[in-house]
């Protein structure tokens, strides 16, 4: 467990170092995640400790966002002043993005099946 946590922290530190060194706009933890993913793929196996450490961190991941979420308290006045415009943009564009992305992916996922079907029909004729 401690070994697994150490490994996770090492990958974060590595990610932070790369991000800083090359002046990348991508934050260290995201780079660390991609590197750890690549490392696991190369290694081809997952230790039990790593499984436990990751579920410890991820099972209640939403809790970790609470302190940042409470930070909206600092902007309450600005939000109150422009609430209608902000609400319209936030709600509509979020809804459009979720639905648009989901339907696009669903379509792309079914595309080979649809094309195959069509080809088979044509061959039939």
């Amino acid at each position: 467990m401690i070994g697994a946590l150490t490994l996770i922290f090492c990958f974060q530190l590595l990610g932070e170092t790369i991000s800083h060194l090359f002046g990348l706009p991508i934050p260290g933890p995201v780079i660390g995640m991609l590197l750890l993913f690549a490392w696991l793929s190369l290694r081809g196996q997952l230790s039990e400790g790593l499984e436990r450490a990751s579920s410890g961190l991820l099972d209640n991941l939403t809790l970790l966002f609470v302190p940042a979420g409470v930070g909206l308290i600092l902007y309450i006045d600005q939000l109150r002043e422009h609430w209608l415009g902000i609400a319209i943009v936030l709600i509509l564009s979020t809804a459009i993005t979720i639905v648009g992305t989901a339907l696009t992916l669903q379509f792309l996922q079914r595309l080979p099946v649809l094309l195959n079907h069509k080809r088979r029909e044509e061959a039939h004729e």
């Binding site: 996770i8 922290f9 990958f11 974060q12 706009p25 991508i26 934050p27 933890p29 995201v30 660390g32 995640m33 750890l36 993913f37 793929s41 997952l46 499984e51 450490a53 990751s54 961190l57 991820l58 209640n60 991941l61 939403t62 809790l63 970790l64 966002f65 609470v66 302190p67 940042a68 979420g69 409470v70 930070g71 909206l72 308290i73 600092l74 902007y75 422009h82 209608l84 415009g85 902000i86 943009v89 936030l90 709600i91 509509l92 564009s93 979020t94 809804a95 459009i96 993005t97 979720i98 639905v99 992305t101 989901a102 339907l103 696009t104 992916l105 669903q106 792309l108 996922q109 595309l111």
Partner: protein, 238 residues
């Protein structure tokens, strides 16, 4: 009475107080929500955040005091993000199977996220600074703040919009996706991760490891792509 005020003054400043209150509120909301009739819009994150905002306002406690103590939780977000590699790895075969559709969908999803904010921002005639700060709202906070800075938005406000997007999104995602009959957990995960970054991913992980893996991947890819796309679009559209 004076004793009580003294005690409050002491408690408020002890490093444990706000951290413990955050944990307790989260546990209590999770407990209550579990026992309520199934209502997918309510979640412990949203409830806890709202309750704590109310408590801080009522007790007139500055955010600095709160974050100095509860910031420990925020620190864990870094390693937790790295740990997302584990559900991704566990679902690596499923990710590979869908690699081409995922990679084609990614730029389309990113552009939908950016252009919808752009168009709606113009329609609602929000100030330039507001509009620019809203643009990276589907991107995970640290990347979003960097983007906002680069395009002359307000990084701190951008961070608030990212959070609000996560909150609003977790409220509407499930009913919307049900309505449009998107039932595949992989598709749901990817769409939510792309639109709602870490907060969406955290919600997806509570539903399934598989959805969480697709969500985490979408969050990382969309964040990286948007860091390039948004500054370019702003540069060309002015």
């Amino acid at each position: 009475m004076n004793n009580l005020i003294d005690l409050w003054g002491y408690l408020r400043e002890t490093p444990l107080f706000w951290l413990t209150l955050t944990l307790l509120t989260y546990q209590a909301s999770a407990w209550v929500i579990k026992r309520l009739p199934d209502w997918p819009v309510l979640n412990p994150f949203l409830a806890t955040t709202m309750i704590l905002v109310a408590v801080l306002l009522i007790t007139d406690t500055p955010y600095e005091t709160y974050i100095a103590q509860a910031g420990m939780l925020q620190f864990l977000l870094g390693p937790a993000t790295v740990a997302l590699a584990i559900p991704m790895y566990r679902n690596v075969t499923k990710l590979k199977q869908m690699l081409v559709p995922l990679l084609v969908c990614l730029p389309i999803g990113s552009l939908i996220a950016i252009s919808s904010v752009y168009a709606l921002g113009h329609l609602t005639k929000l100030s330039q600074a507001m509009q620019l700060s809203l643009l990276p709202k589907s991107v995970t906070t640290p990347i979003a703040m960097g983007i906002a800075e680069q395009i002359n938005g307000l990084p701190a406000l951008a961070a608030v919009f990212v959070l609000l997007t996560g909150m609003v999104g977790t409220l509407i995602a499930a009913p919307l996706l049900d309505f449009f009959r998107v039932h595949d957990l992989r598709v749901r995960g990817f769409a939510v991760g792309l639109s709602l970054h870490g907060i969406g991913t955290a919600r997806m992980l509570q539903i399934s490891q598989e959805a969480g893996a697709f969500s985490g991947l979408a969050m990382a890819l969309n964040g990286s792509l948007s860091a390039v796309l948004i500054p370019l679009i702003v540069y060309f559209l002015g």
